[in-house]
Subunit: 594 residues, 2 copies
Amino acid sequence: MAANGAPAVTAEEVEELRKQLETLQASLRKKEAELELVAPYSRSYGRSLVASVLESESQGLSLVGKTIRVGGWVKTGREAGAGAFAFLEVNDGSCFQNIQIMVTKEVAEEVGGLKSLTPTSTCVLIEGVLAQTPPGTKQKVELKATKVVHVGTTDAAEYPLAKKKQSFEFLREKAHLRPRTNTIGAVARIRNALAYATHRFFQERGFLYVHTPIVTASDCEGAGEMFQVTTLLSKIDEEPEEQPPTAEELEALRAQVAAQGAAVKEAKAAASADKEDKEAAKKSKAEVAELLKLKAQLEKAEEAARNAGGIPRTAEGRVDYSKDFFSKPAYLTVSGQLNGEYYACALSNIYTFGPTFRAENSHTARHLAEFWMIEPEMAFCDLQDDMQCAEDYVRYCCRYILDNCRPDLEFINSMIDKTAIARLEQVADSSFKRVSYTEAIEILEGVVKSGKKKFEFPVSWGIDLQSEHERYLTEEVFQQPIIVYNYPKEIKAFYMRLNDDGKTVAAMDVLVPKVGELVGGSQREDRLDVLTKRITDAGMPLEAYTGYLDLRKYGSVPHSGFGLGFERLILFATGLDNIREVIPFPRWPGNAAY
Amino acid sequence: MAANGAPAVTAEEVEELRKQLETLQASLRKKEAELELVAPYSRSYGRSLVASVLESESQGLSLVGKTIRVGGWVKTGREAGAGAFAFLEVNDGSCFQNIQIMVTKEVAEEVGGLKSLTPTSTCVLIEGVLAQTPPGTKQKVELKATKVVHVGTTDAAEYPLAKKKQSFEFLREKAHLRPRTNTIGAVARIRNALAYATHRFFQERGFLYVHTPIVTASDCEGAGEMFQVTTLLSKIDEEPEEQPPTAEELEALRAQVAAQGAAVKEAKAAASADKEDKEAAKKSKAEVAELLKLKAQLEKAEEAARNAGGIPRTAEGRVDYSKDFFSKPAYLTVSGQLNGEYYACALSNIYTFGPTFRAENSHTARHLAEFWMIEPEMAFCDLQDDMQCAEDYVRYCCRYILDNCRPDLEFINSMIDKTAIARLEQVADSSFKRVSYTEAIEILEGVVKSGKKKFEFPVSWGIDLQSEHERYLTEEVFQQPIIVYNYPKEIKAFYMRLNDDGKTVAAMDVLVPKVGELVGGSQREDRLDVLTKRITDAGMPLEAYTGYLDLRKYGSVPHSGFGLGFERLILFATGLDNIREVIPFPRWPGNAAY
C-alpha cells in the first residue's frame, strides 16, 4: 500500500547506470592494482601482495619481466636439480593461492642455503623477476628469486603444524598458528567478507550501526545463563584473609552486649531515681558509652563473620554488590535487542553487530560461550517487512562471498562440503518460502502420519520446533530456505507482538539447509497495556522494564527486528561441522585460551 | 626502496577514472533515491525517510505535489490559526533535519484532535502532499497532512525530556530516550559514519577484519585492571549455604583420625605377630576401614570449611578456579593486540574493531570502563609504514564525516564546539608532523627554560609524556596533529621493538588537538632472543607468552600495529567534553544501567 505516485525515473534507467558503475569500478580496481603493486604500508620492505599479482586481470601475465618482492610463509618447499635450486610455495594470506618462487643455491647462499628456506612456515621476503610458467602449470607465473631479503627460520622438527593434514581438534589447541592452514585461512577471509557484507548491506540501506553495551545490569529476557562481571573475586586472592570470629566468640560478644544492656538499664534507673545524684548520672553515661562500644564491636565481628569467604555480604548473607565495580550485579550481554529498540525508537533503522555470551555448559558443535550477533531493528516495520529484510540480508551475504571469495569457496567446496557453492547460489538466487507455524505443524504431522518420517520429539500444535523438525522442513520438504512465522505465544518471548487471534505472536524464524535456524525475529509489542500484561503474566517484575515500557508510553511506534548468529551464517556458508572452527579464538566450557 | 619498475598505467589515468566513478555514483544515488522513495522495510506502512526528501538533490522541490508518508517523533508542535491547524516539526533520525508538517483540525479529528499530536516525542505517521514553503523558510518544502495514519501519544506532563535544554548529566540518566535529542542523535550518526569509515578504509586496502576474543584467560601486558568473568559468584546467592564445620569440630575430627591411626597400628602389629590369628587379621582390616572412613570425613569437612564463603577453595585457601566456567580465571580483554598479531603473522594485514575493558576506578571525563578499539596489525611493516597507516586512517575518517555528516557537524559546530569543522578540515587536508621523543623533550625543556610555559609535571628525557605536555605540543607548538616516535624503552611495553641505540623502542603516539593521545602503536619485537630477554627483564613469566614467542620461533616477520580508542576519535570529531556522551550506553564505576 505504498502511497507514492509514479517515480520520476524508470527502474531500467537505474539498472543501466548500476551496470555502467560496476564496469567502471572493476576497471578502476584493476588499474589501481597495477599502478600500485607495492602493498599499502609495506613500502619500507617494497613488498607486493600475492593477491595483487595472481588475482590481477591477467593473473600476473601482464607483470612478466618485472622485478617485485613478495613475502609470506612457506607452505611447501622442495629442493630440486640435485640441490641446485628449490621451489617454494609461499602464501601471504591476501588470497587463497600460493605464489611459486624458484630460488637457486647461489641466491640462497647468503641466508644459510636452501635448507633454511624450505621448511613449512618459514617466513621469507624475496625479490625476483616474474616469469611465465610452462603451459599446464597451476599458476600462470612464478617468481625467479634474485635476492632473499628476509628469512624468519622455522625448525621443521619442532614446528607443531607439519605438512600433513592435522585434525581440527588438534588445530584448536594451536589457535595462534592455525590461521596458517588452508582451511582456517579460507574461513578467516570468508568471515571477513561476511562481516563487511553485513555492514555494506545495512549502510547502503540507511541503517545506523549502534554499539550496544557488553556489560549490563539488566537481563534481556532471561535468555539463558549469564556470565557475571565482577571485581570482587580477585580480591579474595589478593588480600590476606583475616581470621573470622568463631560462633563461640560471637555468642560471647552477644552475651556481653546483653549484660551491658542490663547494666545500662540499672544505672539509668538509679540516675533517674535521684536526678541530683551527679555520680549516678555519670555512671549511667559511662555504662551507655560502654554499651555502644560493645555494640560496635559486635557489629564489626558479625560483618567479619559474614565476609569470611572474602566476598562482602549483606546482613542477610547475600553478596553485597554495593561493593562491586558497578554497585550492582553485572553480566555479559545475551542480546543487544532491548538497547537496539531504544535507538530504533529514536533514529528509525539501526543494527548492532557485536559479541554476545551464554554461560551454558554446552559442549556441542553448535554452541559457543562467546559469539557474534547481528541485530537490526526497524521503526514503522511490521512482520512482513521484517521477513523481507532478513531474506534480503542473507541473500546479499551469499551473493557477496560468491563474488568476492571464489577461490576460498572452491577450496571449501572441494575439501569440506561439495554442496557449499550450490547451496550459496540457490540461496542467493531464489526467494524464501514463507510458511506459517500452523502450516508447518500440519506438514510435519502429515509426514509422521503417513509414516514417511519419524521424529525423536513428537509433533503437535503448540510445540517448540526442534532442530530435527526445522531441518526436515527446509532440507527435505522445501529443499530451500523457508521462513516460519506466527508462532504460539506460549513458546515465544514476552516482547513479541500478540496477533489478533490472541493465540499467536508475530514471530518468525528463517530456517536454512545444513544449519536449521539462522535468524529469529519478531514484530515487537508496541501497545503499552498488552506489553504490561505480558510481562506480569510471565511473572517478571515491571520495574525491571521501566525503560522498555517508556518506549510505549512516550511516542510508541510499530517496530520489528531480528537476530542472526554470525557463526551460524559462516557454518552455513562453509559447511564446516563444528562452530569452533569458524571463530578465531573459540570459547567453550573449560576453554578461554589465548 | 620499492622494487617495482614503472607502472603500466599513469596516475592521471586512474585519477580520471576515479572522477568518472564518483560522478556516476552520485548520479546513481540520487536516481535511486527518487525511484525508491518508500524506505526499505517500511513497505507495509508506505513510509518515506525524511532524509530521502530533504537531503535529495532538489531538497524536496522535485517532489512537490506528490503524496507521501513520513513518520517520526515530534520535536516541537504548536497550534496556530486559533486552533484551526498545527505545525509539527518531525524528526525520524535518518538525518539531522526535521520535516515540517501542517495538520488541520479536520485531519486531526479522527485521532483525538491537534492536542494529541503536538506534545514533544509524540510518534506520528502522516500522509500528505508535499508543498513548497514561502521563500525565507528554513526548509524548501513542507508536508500538508491529508491523513494521520498512526499516533503514539505522549503525556507532555510526564515526558522526562521536555522541550527545553537538558543537561548532559540528566540525559545520561535517560539513556533510553536521549537519542531523541539533537546532540545525541547527531553523535549517533557521526559515530555510525566513523565506524563505517573504519571498515571501508581497511577493507579498501585489503585488510581482514578479525574478531579477537572478549573473554580471555591471558592478560595482554598487565595493561591496567581487569574485570573478571565468572559463574562462581551467582552460586552463592542461589544455593542455601550449609553451615560449615567450626574449628573445634575440625580439631575433634583430626584427633579422632589420629587415635584411629594408633588403633590401626596396634591391630596391624597384633595381626603380624601371629599370622595364623584370623580374628586379629579381621580386626586389623576393620580398623583400617574405619580409619579410611574417618579420613574421608575429615577431608570433606576441611573442604566444607574452605568453601565456607560459597566460593570453592583450594587446599591453600585460594579460589578454586577449576570449578569456574572456563576452569581458569578469565577476564574481559584489555586489548586484542596479541590475538591480532597471531592473525597478521599468517594473513599479513588485519584489523580488529571491538569492545575492550578497564576496571579502573576512574570517574574522569576521558575514561570509560567499556570502550571500543580499532587495532590494525601489519606484516612486513616497520614503524615508518605504521605511522603512515595511522595518519592515513585518521585523515580518511575526518574526510568521510565531512563528506557524509555535514548537517550534523554544522549543528555540532554551532552548538558544541565552534572549531569542530575547521579542526576536521585541517586534519583531513594536511600531513602529520613527525617528531622524535628526544626532539619533543628538547622543545618542552626549551619552553620551560624560557619561562614561556609552566607544567605541573617536570620535563626531562625519560619521563612519560603527560596529557598537558602532549596537548601543549599539538595545540600550541605545532598547532596540528603530530606523531611522536622512538620513546625510551623504560616507559613502553615489552613487545615494542628495541632500536639500535639500545635505549629507545620503535613506538609512536599520534597526538591531536583537543584530545591529546589518539593513537598508540609500535613496531613489534620480532627477534626471539631480544623478546625473551625483555619479558624476563620485566619480571614476567615466559610460559604466559608461549604462543607469542612461537610467532618469533616459527617464521618470524617484521610487523607493526597500533590501537585507536574509538570514543577518543568521536570526542575529537565533535569537541564534546565528556566521553560518556559519545557511546550509547556508557559504563563507569557504579553504572551499568540498561
